[in-house]
Symmetry: C3
Subunit: 302 residues, 3 copies
Amino acid sequence: AYITKDAIPATTTDGPIAYAPNIPPIIDNDSVAIRVDIQHKKITVANGVCFWAWTFGDSIPGPVLRVRVGQTIKFSMVNRSNLTAEVSPPMPHSIDFHAAMVDPHDKYRSINPGETLHFQWTANYAGVFMYHCGTPVILQHMISGMTGMIIVEPEAGFPGKVDKEFAIVQNEYYLKPKGDSLYETDVTSARNRQPMFVTFNGKSKQYVQQPLEVKAGDRVRLYVLNTGPNLTSSFHVVGTIFDKVWIDGNPKNEFRGMQTVLLGSSNGAIVEFIVPEKGTYVFVDHSFASVEQGAVGLIEAK
Amino acid sequence: AYITKDAIPATTTDGPIAYAPNIPPIIDNDSVAIRVDIQHKKITVANGVCFWAWTFGDSIPGPVLRVRVGQTIKFSMVNRSNLTAEVSPPMPHSIDFHAAMVDPHDKYRSINPGETLHFQWTANYAGVFMYHCGTPVILQHMISGMTGMIIVEPEAGFPGKVDKEFAIVQNEYYLKPKGDSLYETDVTSARNRQPMFVTFNGKSKQYVQQPLEVKAGDRVRLYVLNTGPNLTSSFHVVGTIFDKVWIDGNPKNEFRGMQTVLLGSSNGAIVEFIVPEKGTYVFVDHSFASVEQGAVGLIEAK
Amino acid sequence: AYITKDAIPATTTDGPIAYAPNIPPIIDNDSVAIRVDIQHKKITVANGVCFWAWTFGDSIPGPVLRVRVGQTIKFSMVNRSNLTAEVSPPMPHSIDFHAAMVDPHDKYRSINPGETLHFQWTANYAGVFMYHCGTPVILQHMISGMTGMIIVEPEAGFPGKVDKEFAIVQNEYYLKPKGDSLYETDVTSARNRQPMFVTFNGKSKQYVQQPLEVKAGDRVRLYVLNTGPNLTSSFHVVGTIFDKVWIDGNPKNEFRGMQTVLLGSSNGAIVEFIVPEKGTYVFVDHSFASVEQGAVGLIEAK
Ligand SMILES: [Cu+2]
Ligand SMILES: [Cu+2]
Ligand SMILES: [Cu+2]
Ligand SMILES: [Cu+2]
Ligand SMILES: [Cu+2]
Ligand SMILES: [Cu+2]
Ligand code: NA
Ligand code: NA
Ligand code: NA
Ligand code: NA
Ligand code: NA
Ligand code: NA
Ligand SMILES: [Zn+2]
Ligand SMILES: [Zn+2]
Ligand SMILES: [Zn+2]
Ligand SMILES: [Zn+2]
Ligand SMILES: [Zn+2]
Ligand SMILES: [Zn+2]
Ligand SMILES: [Zn+2]
Ligand SMILES: [Zn+2]
Ligand SMILES: [Zn+2]
C-alpha cells in the first residue's frame, strides 16, 4: 500500500458500486478500479433521529461493491474527513476487506485527513463479505457507520437464475441524545451490547414506508450481511421459506428449506426464495427486540 | 382467508396435535383439518410464578402440530379472548406459520374476539418450524406465550428409525411482579433482551422434577425449537453427543458428531443421539445463564 | 466411577496435555491415562486484574487434551482445593467431558477436597470438545475458570497437512472489584450476560503483547473453542479467509471460504487458512464489544 496527497475527486466513489438495496453490475475485466472515499456527514437513522456519521461513500451502509473471483481490485480511498472540519473533527481512517487476503498491517493502515490510500488485492473466494474501518477504537468507527458489503461472484457467476435480487445490510446503532433530533454515538451502550436501533440498509423501518417490489412467482435472491457490530441476526422472511441458503455467500455452504438463517457479527449469506402469491411479505431479524428497534421491512408482490 | 362468527366449539383444538414433549401421530390424508383456538389463561411459569398469558390451545408453548410434505392444511382458529374478559382484556390475534408459503397480509391477518379465521395452505418443505401470533406489538404477543412448533415430515417420513422421540420448545419469559405469585409481561426487559426465565416447554425446570424417560441403548430423536423471542440457544445434552443434527429439521442440512447445536431465534433442529448406558442425562441451553433461569431438564435412562 | 483418597501427586497433570496455544502430541496406544487435578489458585486476567480462580491443572483455560477416536481414556482427578484453604474455601468439584458418552450422574459426580475421582470412557466422535466442572452452581464454577478443550482426532488423524497449529479457547470473565488489583467472580453480571472481559486462552490481549508466530505461505490450523459460558463467538482472522471450517471440529461438517465462524456457547471448530504474505494478522471475536473486552490477538508472519 502507498499513500498520496492528491486533489479531491469530484465524486466520492468510482467503479462497480451501487447503493443498497441495489446490486451493481459486474465489470468484466481482469482488473477493476474501485474508489470509495470517507466522509463525515449527517445521516438520518430514523424519523427525527440523525447524527454526524463517518461514512464510506455517501451512506450507511457504504456502497455495495461487486467483483469476481480472480479479479484484481485496484483500490483507492480518500480520507475527506477534513472537508467538514467545522462540524466534525477530522481523523484517521482505514478499510478492512473481509474478501481480501493481505497483510492488514500494510493494506489496512490508517490514513490522515486529505490523504489517499492505494493498494491492490485479488479476490480468491466467492461470497458476501463485510468491509469496515479498522482504525482504533474500531467499535467506535463501526457504530459511526463505517461498514459495508462486497459481493464476490464465482468465476462462472452464482449458480441458478433468479428474477430479482437485493442487498440487505443489517447494523446496530448505539446513540445518545445531543439536542433536538441530533444524536451522537455511545460507546458505553455499544460495550454493553444494548443498541438503540437495529436497521436494514441503515435506516429504521425504511422498507415499511417504501417496500421492495417483486412479482408473484418470482425467485428472489437476497444478499444479506450482518455487520453487527455486536449481535447475531436471525434473518427471516414472513410468508415464505428459504429454498437455498449459502452461508457467507458461498454456494458450497448450502442449506435447504430454512425458515431462518442465523448470522454472526460479520457473517453474510445468500438466500433464495419463491414468492408464492401476490401479497406483502415481511423481512425481519426474528430476534424480535430488533424488530421493535427497526429491523423490519416489506416486500410487495404484485 | 376468510372470517366467520361461529358458535364456540367444545374443545380448544382439533386435528393432529399433542402437548409437548409429546409428538402427535400423523394423519395419512391428502388434506388435514387443524383447529387451534386462542385463549387468555393463567399459566404457571415456575413454582410460585404465574401470569395471565395469551395462548394457542391450552398451554405455553401451543400444541405440537404434525403434518407431511404435500398435505393441505385446512386451518381454523377461534379468538376466545372474550371468554375471560373480566380478568384479561380481549384483543385481536393472528397466526403466522413458518412452515407455510402464503401472503401474510391475507392469511396472517388479525381477528377480533369471537371471530373464527379460516385459511388453507400446503406444506412444501420438511422441518421443525415455529408458529406464533403476528399481531403488533408482536414482541408483546410472543412474550405473552403465543408460540409453538409444527413438524413437517418428508413425504417418506424422516429417514432412519428411532426408539423414542420428544418435542422440546425453548422460550424466554420477560415478567415483572404484580402481586403475590402473580406477574405480568414486561416489554422493557424484552427490548433489553434480559429474560427472567428461559424454559423448555414453558415451565422452568419441569423436567428436573419429572424427567423424560428412555432406555439405555435407545436412539433418541428430539425435535427442538428455539422460539426466542430474542436469544440464541446453545442446545446440548450432557453425557452424550448428537450423532445427527438436521438444521431447521431438514435432513438435507445434516451435521454429525455435534456437542451443541446453536439455534437462532425461530430456528428448529432435529437431533439424534444414542443413550450410552443407564443414567441421568441433562439437556440444557449451554448459554449457562439460561440454565440458572430455568433451561435445564433431565432424561432418565432405565 | 469410583473415589479414592490417595497421596497428592507431585504434579497437577499427567498424560497427553499441553497449555494453549500449544497442542499436545498424541499417544499412540489403545488406552491413555490422563490426570487433571483441580486447584484454587490466583490467576491474572489482564494487567492489574487477578482473582482467586478454580482451575483444572495450573491455568485458565485448563490444559488442552488430545486423544483419538477409539482410545479408552483412563481418567483421574484430584480435588486439591484444600491445599489453599487459608485463602480460598475448599469445595466439591467435578468434570464433564463433552467428548464422552457416559452417565453424568455416575462419571461427572462431585468429589470432596482431598478426594481422587477415577473413571474411564472411550472417544467415539472426532472433534474439538469442551470440558468443564459440572458442580452446581455450574455458572459459578465456569466463571471461576473451570473450562478447557479436548481434541479428539479421527482414527486416521485429521485430513490434510498443515504447517502450524494452535489452540484458541475463548471465555468470558464476570468479575467485580475486591481491593487493589484483586477481583472476585460476580454471578449477577454473569446472569445478565454482561462480561467484564472476553479473552483468548484466559488472559486479555495476551497475544497482542506476544503474537503467535507463523511464516508467510503457511497453512495454519486453529482449534477453536468457545467456552462461553454465555455469549456466542463470531471468530474471525483479519487479513485472511478460512479455507475450511469444520464445525465442532468434525471434518464431516465442512464449510468453505468463510470470513467468520459463529460458535455457540460450547461449540468448537477447526479453521484452516493460508497466510498470504508477511505481515501481522489479527484474530478477534468480531462481536466487537468483545474486542474491547480483550478478545483480540496477533499472528505475526515472518
Ligand atoms: Cu474510520
Ligand atoms: Cu472485520
Ligand atoms: Cu396474539
Ligand atoms: Cu415468525
Ligand atoms: Cu468446580
Ligand atoms: Cu457442558
Ligand atoms: Na428497515
Ligand atoms: Na415464513
Ligand atoms: Na425444564
Ligand atoms: Na455431552
Ligand atoms: Na488475547
Ligand atoms: Na479477513
Ligand atoms: Zn474509521
Ligand atoms: Zn414468520
Ligand atoms: Zn396482501
Ligand atoms: Zn397475538
Ligand atoms: Zn456437558
Ligand atoms: Zn445415574
Ligand atoms: Zn466446580
Ligand atoms: Zn476484518
Ligand atoms: Zn506488517
